[in-house]
Structures are given as C-alpha cells and as structure tokens.
Symmetry: D2
C-alpha cells in the first residue's frame, strides 16, 4: 500500500504540521483560526482570509436552544461522566437541515459560477426548488424578516477585506432570481452568507460543513457548561413530554 | 506485539464466530439474544439464561420520550441523511444517570456478595448514599410508587427459570436495608431488578451497560421511525424554548 | 402543535408499549427480536417473521476487525469511562459504504418490484451502475468468492419460513441481470440477501438500516468487552502509523 | 420550573449572545478564540488571555494518526454521507486517557494550590500515583524525551503574557516532586502545560476538556479532508487485521 499522510509527523524534539515546526513556527505565532486553515488546507491564510473566516465562525457559533444544543444538553445531564459524548451528540445534529446547509448553498453557488449564463442558472435553481417545494439552502428564516441581519454583516466584511468574489456575486444573483421566481422577498440567511464568504476565502467547498461543525463545537461547550451549572434537562424533558402526548390511534 | 482477537475470522467459504461456523451453526439456529450472549462472552447460553436476558432486554427497551429518545429525535430531524447519527446520539445518553445505572447497581450487589456479613454491608451502602444524598443506583422511581411493576416481573422470571442466585439475594437484602435506613419504602426499580437478573444469568458486570445500550438501541430505532413519519422535533424545540427562557442576569 | 407519539405511555402501575401492557403482555412473553419488531412497526410479528429477522440479525452481527469495530476499539481504549461512546463511534460507521448497504439494495428491489417489466428494470439498474463504476449495493465481496456463503443460508431460511416473496424474487432477477451485464459472476452478498429477506418479512425499507445498526450494536459490545480485557489499541495504532507514513510532498 | 439560559436570545433584527449584539459587537470584532471564551464563560477575554488560549488550542490541534483521528477516518470512509459523524467519532476518543488528561492535570494543580504546603501536597500526589502505578496526568511522553518541546513553548508564552500564575507554579512544584519521587526525570507533557496555562488564563477547570475537544475538532476536520481526497481506511484496516490476528484459544 502506498497511502501516505501529509498532515503531521514528529521527532523527539519537535512536531511538524504541514511541514512547519509546531514549536518554532506555529504555537504563539498563529491564532486558532489561522492554524485551523493551515491544518485543513495545507496553506497559510492571508490576513483577509483569516478575518473573513473569523467572522463566519463567530456568526455560526451560537443560535440559542436549537435541536443541536438540546441534544447536547440531554446527553450532558444523562452522562456527566463524558463531556465528549455531549459535544458529539450536538455535532451529530449539524446535518443537512440546519447549519450543514452551508454546504448545500455553496454547491449552488459553484453551479452558478460554472454556468454559461449566471442569471439563467440562478433562475433555474429557484424554479427547481419552487417546483419541488424544497427550501433553497442558504435562504429564508422564520424569525429574521424581512432580512437576516447577520448576512449583511458577513457580506460587508467579505467586501471590506477585498474577498467578495465570484461566490458572493453568485449569491446576489441567486437572491434576485429567488425573489422573482417566488414573487416575494426571501432573505439570504446566515448560512447563505457564510457559504459565499467562506468559498471566496478559499475554504474548500467539500469541507465547509467541517467549519460549521467547528463553530458549533464551541457553541456546544458553552451550553454544556451552563447545563452542568444549572441543569435544564428535566424542564426540557417535561415540556417535551407535554408537547408530544401519547395517543393510541 | 502479540495481541490477538478471539472473536471472529473468515475464509472464502464461511465466517467463524467464537469458533463456530456462522453458516452451519449460527444463522437460523440461534436467536438474536443467544447470538449476542455468545458474541460477548464466548459461551453458549442455556434456555434459562436466554429467557432471563430476553426479559431484561424487553424491560429496558422503551421508556417513552426520555432524554435519550429526545436526543435521537433532534438529530434525526436535523440530519435525516444519516440514521446512524441519530441512534448514536441516543446511545450517548445511556450514561451514569439513567439506564446505565444497571452497572452501578450490579457493582453494589457484587460488593454485598463479597462481604463477610451481607446485611451489614447493605446497611453500610444505604448509609453512605443517604449521607451523601446520592441516589442508590437501582432504587427509586418518580412515577412508579410504591413499587416499580417491572421489577417484580423480572425477578419472578429469574426465579421461575431457576436463576435467582446470589445477586438477586443481595438485591433483596439491599432493599430491606434501604427501607430501614431511609425510614420509608423505596422501590427496587427496573434497572435494579435487571442488574440482579443479568448478573445471575452470568452476564459479566463490566459489559452490563452494553446490554442496556443494546436494548435502548432497538427502542431508539422505533422513535426515529416515528420521528421520520410524523416529525415532533419542532414541537419539542418550541416547548423547550418556552420552558427555558433567556434571562440576562 | 398537535404532534403525538404512538409508542409508549405509563401509569404508576404499568408501562404500555404500542398499546400493550409491558408487565402483563411483553416481559417474559416476547423475545428481544419480537419486541423490537413490535416497537418499530407497531405490529406483532409472526413466528416466520421472527425466524427470518433473527437469521438476518445473526448474519449481520459480526464481521471481525472492520472499520466499525476499529473505531469502537479506538474510542474504548481512549475513553474507558464511557462505554456508550465506544458503541456510538462504531455505530457511526454503519453508513452507506458497508452494512448500511442493506438500505440501498432494498431500494433497488422495490424499484424492480414496481416496474412494468422486472427483467428490463434489473438490466437497467445493472447497466447504470456499470456505466458509473458504482458497486451495486448488496452485490460483490472481496473474500467470499464465487459466492457469499451467508446469502444462501439467509435466502434458504426465508423460503423455508414461507416468506420468500417479491423482494427475494427481485433479488434473483437482479443477480441474473448483473452477471449478464458485467459478463462475470458477482455474488449476492450478505447485505443483499438480508435486504431481500427483511423486506419480505415486512420490515419497513426506510428503517432497515436501523436493524443493521442493532445487529452491529451487539457485535460492537463484544469487541469492546475484548478490548477492555486485552487492549489492541496500541497495536492497531502502531500498525496504522506504519501503514500510512508521513510524506511532505 | 424556573430554569433559564443566560447564553443567547434573538429578535427579528439581531441575535444577542451573552448580552452583546452579535451583529454590532461580535461579528468582525472578535476572533473565533475570543468569541469562544465569551460564549463559554460570559466574560470578554483580555489580549493576554486570548494569546494564551490561542497558543493552547494550536498546541493541542494535531498529533498525527492517533486513536482519535483513526476513529474519524474509519467513520469518514464508511459513511461519507455524514461528515458530522466522522467528527463526532473522533471527538468521542478525547477521553480520560489522551487529550482529556488536561482536566485530570488541572484538578491536581488546583489541589496543590489549595493545600497548606504545596511541596508536601505535590509529593503526596506523586507518591499516590507511583504506589498505584497510575500515570500522573500531564506528565510523561513516550517519544518526547527528555522533554516535551511543546510544554516549554506554552509555558514561555504564559509568562510572556504575564499570566503564569498559581497553576503554572503548582505545575513546576509538581514536576520537581515527580522527578524526586520517581527517581528519574519525567517531562511535563503538552497537556500538562496546557492545563496550567488555561487555568491561569481563567478557563474554568470543569470545561477545560471542552477546549481540548474544540482544538481536536479542527484537527479532525483536516484528517477527514485528507481521508476524502486520498482514502487511507483500507490500508489501516488491513494493517490492523494483520497486527491483531484471530486466535481461538
């Protein structure tokens, strides 16, 4: 077998990550965000890339009591012996429906970028989703109406850092097409803006969900810390039990 | 390194588990419960052992909307692409607080069995827990009062199968000591009865939580199937959100 | 919200699962396999269904040191405080590539069953997979050649129990089409036979992966028990490290 | 029930985390590391705290092909449909044996800090571990001898930032006691230095494992990205299979 890894190796005196000395070049020299980008892509990020990625991770970290944090709190209070289990349970909820939509949205942006006519492709995408009554990933929000306030901030930072490129453009084209096809305004939501910004910051599309997971991982640690201090599990359990009563039909 | 595995191997024509031919000796010959016992212990169970283990697994499978099934439902509706993630999240909640207590209870029973005077040891255990206000694993239930109805059934089956041995005896001794020390009747709960019955059915103490996990695994598949058909996730989310409001103190 | 659950409820005196009294009708009356079917589908299985499901669960339980059991062993030796974490890690590997293929295969069998001409549809399926160089789920095995010995046993049991119906027929039609289209014999593997047998035993297609997960759950408990007794983690780690060396290209 | 959450809330126009406006005060203003500290503790970190936490997260992120990354790679290649499952599997391995030792070490440092005589307490700790042949968490490394190079760098940064306080002092006292009691030099390893540095940066002891999990989460995304591009799973599987042969004793 000739499979190899390019990520890390070590000697008695040092550890090398992506060819760089952990002790001389990385610890104390890089922020966690910069190190993450290096670890995942093998490339050192620019200041602008780091700023955009930081903004995206900060945006995605926390959304209150969501399915993901509820799962983590249930596990934390049931198995306090293993905080890693609670974090893992919360991460398992970063799937195709909520935060994981960054990946679905990014795929659409790539598709628009590769099309001969961006406007046509965007309209086609909107129509496909409308026909199948599937929500367009990266668009719409039940509470943030008419517009998700986080999206504007993320996109403004991408522009300010000189990194708003073809994916941000594709997102804007898609937003216009969606409003037109659906006949009403549907907001670009936080994951939509993050998908475009991360793609233009050169985060690979196919591990973008990994960045979303990382942001949520930090958010989950906060919820688990609170759950340990002032357990909400029994209140949630009771509320759920009443909200979903037994009925033998 | 000379580490080996004793569990399984295979040839082009067959698979061998614990030294037996999967195709000739196991498929169609053993129930799932019997095969589980063989897989975990390397020994073939007797009819009586199988009956007791079946009773215990049936007892533990389902408890309604608990933290474990809530976690699984949250993940199932958030990441429908991966049913294994939803099952895993639910299993992560089988920890030291709920179903995992079988292990904690079994450890107490072993301690009583090994003591010079069982009654003294049982009293000591009850006093230790009372002093530290720690619930005794295997005892007490918020709803099933004065007695958990499942415990009587499980213990009756262990007796009927001729397998009520030293662990069931230790459980009864402990129950008497607890009522005396606490000055009121506290029921043997389902996990307490299961702990004693499984131990007397020769299920190793240190993988007993594994049997509890297996039982709950089947229960979780049922909840995930229902969650897919008639999603409860949003109702639970909303109820939890109202039960645990934001307060910036 | 008017979402309800049909699975379970309880009173002080009893627990009811799928409308039946846990204490009077289920514990001691049903095997774990029967109870699982009731829990998941809401229906009581026949003797024949139980026999086929038992055979399928026994078939899938154990495959030696596979990615799934390796993941569980890594976690078990790293976090011995939480056996549930090790089981969960192993279950997360029951995905679309290995055991989870039961679901993919069952979907093909349903497609054949619904087609106007079964032979044509089977040929179309074989051709699609050949053209895209995608393995047909439920077919082929690197070691069991020319035929997976488990498949014959599972299908024989389905026939003997009078349950070999339209899905088993569809599997046989597909097998003929595959040999023809690929120009060589490709075996029905264990997950293919299990998919057909479970479908004909009336296990719903969309939770079939749940049954595979359950079978593997029992297998994982066995590997974790062995890993605790005689840890293989360091030997595996070292072997992996040598098999996948660092190379800074 | 009067349980509340202090973490987050939202309106149509904004999201508030820990009482601050996500859109005005956080996105684009805070690095991911700063936001994590705010999320978990409710307090804004100083520049010095951020520098130390960044250094610790960078230190822990990557250790090559370890049990944790092996588990993640096994799951990634088995269930490519769900990257969150692979990350979760890797995180489940951050337990009491490896990276999770930060928590165990921090607990010892707190104990030394609270003792009447630090030297005596440190000696007692060393003797306890020696007597029970338990490794002291935060000490010793099979490869980095005589000293773990990462520890020196982390501790130097804590000093340079003016944050080397009582926990770093306790670590040094413990190091002296260990060398004396064991009669040979045992290095402070990376998790030992990180435990002291994080504690002195005012990261709460009981969620410290959460920070370790976060660091590893980023590392895991890197391994999963590589596993997707150039799968090592089969090479690892084969190597493991040969390293741990079947033996029916």
């Amino acid at each position: 077998m000739s499979v190899t890894t390019k990520i890390a190796t070590s000697t008695a005196e040092d550890v090398f990550v992506r060819g760089k000395s952990l002790c001389r070049d990385l610890i104390g020299k890089l922020s966690f965000t910069e190190m993450t980008y290096l670890q995942v892509t093998g490339r050192m990020p620019t200041k602008a890339q780091t700023a955009v990625i930081d903004a995206c991770l900060v945006t995605l970290m926390e959304h209150g009591l969501t399915p993901s944090t509820l799962a983590a709190r249930m596990v934390s209070s049931s198995a306090p012996e293993a905080i890693q289990g609670a974090v893992a349970a919360g991460i398992l909820a970063v799937g195709s429906v909520f935060v994981g939509t960054v990946e679905g949205c990014a795929a659409l942006l790539v598709r628009i970028g590769a099309a001969a006519d961006a406007n046509d492709e965007a309209k086609r995408i909107a129509e496909e989703h409308r026909a199948t009554k599937t929500p367009v990933p990266g668009f719409g929000h039940p509470q943030h109406k008419p517009d998700d306030p986080r999206s504007a901030v993320v996109l403004r930072i991408a522009s300010a850092e000189g990194l708003a490129g073809k994916h941000v453009s594709a997102l804007r084209v898609l937003a216009v097409a969606i409003d037109e096809v659906y006949g009403r305004h549907i907001t670009i939501n936080a994951t939509g803006a993050v998908a475009a910004a991360l793609a233009d910051a050169d985060v690979p599309i196919d591990v973008m969900r990994g960045f979303a997971i990382l942001a949520r991982c930090a958010g989950l640690v906060g919820h688990i810390a609170e759950e340990r201090e002032r357990p909400a599990m029994r209140a949630i359990w009771e509320a759920a039990d009443q909200a979903v009563p037994y009925r033998d039909e």
